[in-house]
């Protein structure tokens, strides 16, 4: 060990006569907590900031959202404006991602696709959150026969192949964003409901929820103020995984050709269009696929980071 770095504690010489006496009561501070006091959100932010990967992911997603809003407005090209003079061009300063077989600017189309993909993703996650949390929370908290019936309904929904009713919904409501969203949400809230139910079931036996009951808290209060708030970590994590899975599902629908109809574009339909010219212009498929991959990765990292930061026990 480096000897110079150690500075020995210098005791006053000679020691005062009372050095070994007990401290008077006023000077004793056994209740002292060295850690500074911070509010919940300061705490969450401080935790989150330390996770560089999650922070980068957040920046990426914010950037993606800003671009998705701004690019189609500011760009000289529109998502459906064709240009016969410039078909299937490679990336250049004029068209930074190149153009497709109708001469449409791919950059604008990808960003326009981001609008649809991201809004489907976030909207689906939001709907799942509300339905799943309330449904699962009630099933888990009430328990007994109510729980039995509610969960069997969930099992039934889960067992129907989703493609089947998505196609049916498309037939009835037409292929627009609403029906895509509806199709995705019908089955995916089930996962959230199951998660919340198990969380609530284990938390409801904890003493703090019994304490709330003894205090006279209503069941709604216990469920929403104690049980669901305490399962917020897993909920957030599963929520951030739900966004990419909805984006992926939408892209998949677009890719198999039953999603958003042309000339509108989502990342899935863009990839599908690029697939048709894959042999001659492979560069065209890179952009939508890259967007899907990066967004999914970023959302996953963000979910992990948030789940950790939201836990007040971690600093």
């Amino acid at each position: 060990m480096d000897k110079e770095t150690i500075t020995p504690v210098r005791l006053p010489d000679p020691l005062p006569a009372n050095a070994f006496d007990a401290l008077p009561d006023e000077e004793r501070n056994t209740e002292f907590i060295a850690m500074e006091s911070r509010t919940y959100f300061q705490n969450v932010w401080a935790n989150f900031r330390r996770n560089k990967l999650a922070l980068t992911s957040l920046c990426f997603i914010v950037l993606m959202c800003v671009l998705a809003i701004a690019v189609p407005i500011l760009s000289p090209y529109t998502y459906d404006g064709m240009d016969v003079q410039a078909l299937n061009q490679l990336p250049s300063w004029k068209h930074i991602f190149g153009t497709d077989k109708f001469g449409r600017d791919i950059f604008v189309r990808v960003m326009y696709g981001a609008r649809i993909s991201l809004s489907v993703g976030f909207a689906a996650a939001g709907i799942n959150l509300v339905i799943g949390v309330i449904y699962g929370g009630i099933a888990g908290y009430v328990g007994g026969k109510t729980d039995m019936v509610m969960m069997r309904v969930v099992d039934m929904l889960y067992s129907i192949p989703s493609l089947l009713y998505i196609i049916l919904i498309m037939l009835v409501f037409g292929s627009n964003m609403f029906s895509v969203l509806l199709g995705i949400c019908v089955s995916s809230w089930v996962g959230m409901a199951r998660l919340v139910r198990t969380q609530v079931m284990s938390l409801r036996e904890q003493e703090f929820s019994l304490a709330a009951e003894v205090m006279g808290a209503s069941r709604t209060r216990i469920l929403f103020k104690h049980l669901i708030v305490n399962s917020i970590g897993p909920i957030i994590v599963s929520l951030t995984l739900m966004v990419p899975s909805a984006i992926f599902q939408e892209s998949f629908l677009g890719f198999v050709g039953i999603g958003i109809s042309a000339p509108m574009s989502s990342w899935g339909t863009l990839a599908n269009e690029a697939r048709m010219v894959l042999n001659s212009y492979p560069i065209q498929i890179v952009w939508p696929v890259l967007s899907i991959c990066l967004t999914m990765l970023a959302l996953n990292f963000l979910g992990d980071g948030l789940g950790e930061a939201l836990d007040p026990k971690k600093r």
Partner: protein, 334 residues
Amino acid sequence: MTEPILQVDNCHVWFDIKGGLFTKKQTVKAVNGVSLQVRAGETFGLVGESGCGKSTLGRAIVKLYRPTSGTIRYKRQDITALKGEQAQEYRKHVQMIFQDPYASLDPRMTVSEIIREPMDIHDLYPRREREARVVELLQTVGLKPDHIRRYPHEFSGGQRQRIGIARTLALDPEFIVCDEPISALDVSIQAQVINLLEDIQKKLGISYLFIAHDLSMVKHISDHIGVMYLGHLVEIGPSRELYRHPLHPYTQGLLSAVPIPDPKRARERHRIVLDGEIPTPIDPKPCCPFATRCPKAMEKCFCAVPPSIQVDGRQVACFLYQEGGRAASEINIK
């Protein structure tokens, strides 16, 4: 003699275990015909092994469980049937301190939110005064007002238990069920919490039902003690009497297991070692619950449940003392 503030009469709390396809439906008789009285301002200690039903009884008193039969009367009013507003009113008077200070505080709430919650629920005090009241309560339990924005996990076990006590006091209760409030704490901290509970009792005149398995602590804090075994109260008496002359063979065995901090005296003492395990409370046989382990068991102990009788101003449920049998002192173990 003053009127009892809480009177439990022949209380049973049974739980059904659902039978599966091939198993019969079974009943756990956690509390099986318990009667006791707690007077205003006094502490009633409830002792017994783990699983003997003392916590279940405590929870029935704060209306977490509904008794299968029997009554629990608080100030002459049967509380088992209370609903809605009356139940809320009852909750203001009767509160509970929990065993595990790590589990009984919501980890996502700050200390201020935790202590304020009961006031928010019952809409006590004007909104603005609640914060001041929280600070006051914190000081009552010996914590600093600047701890108010912190989360429970930042505190030590003893501090958390005091936060729990502050939360309980927020409603100004008259009766508190203490469900093993010290068993999860270090010995040095136990004394702190016990002293705090005693101070509060002196200051506010609260009655306690003190549930514990630490016999010396119970002796210290209680005026009366009840000994529970397998859902039955086998003996009730004033705490000093009960410690000096335990009547029921189970109480005798229990007390002989209390460590004595003096090796000389400890060596001289005759220890009663109870053989066997505590029987299961699932569908118990209709006999004395202690008969299987009792060193003095007689034939009739296996045939009927002994009724509780008065002996020397105490209540004992044991056939040894039935019908003027032997005098209490003869059977005592010196």
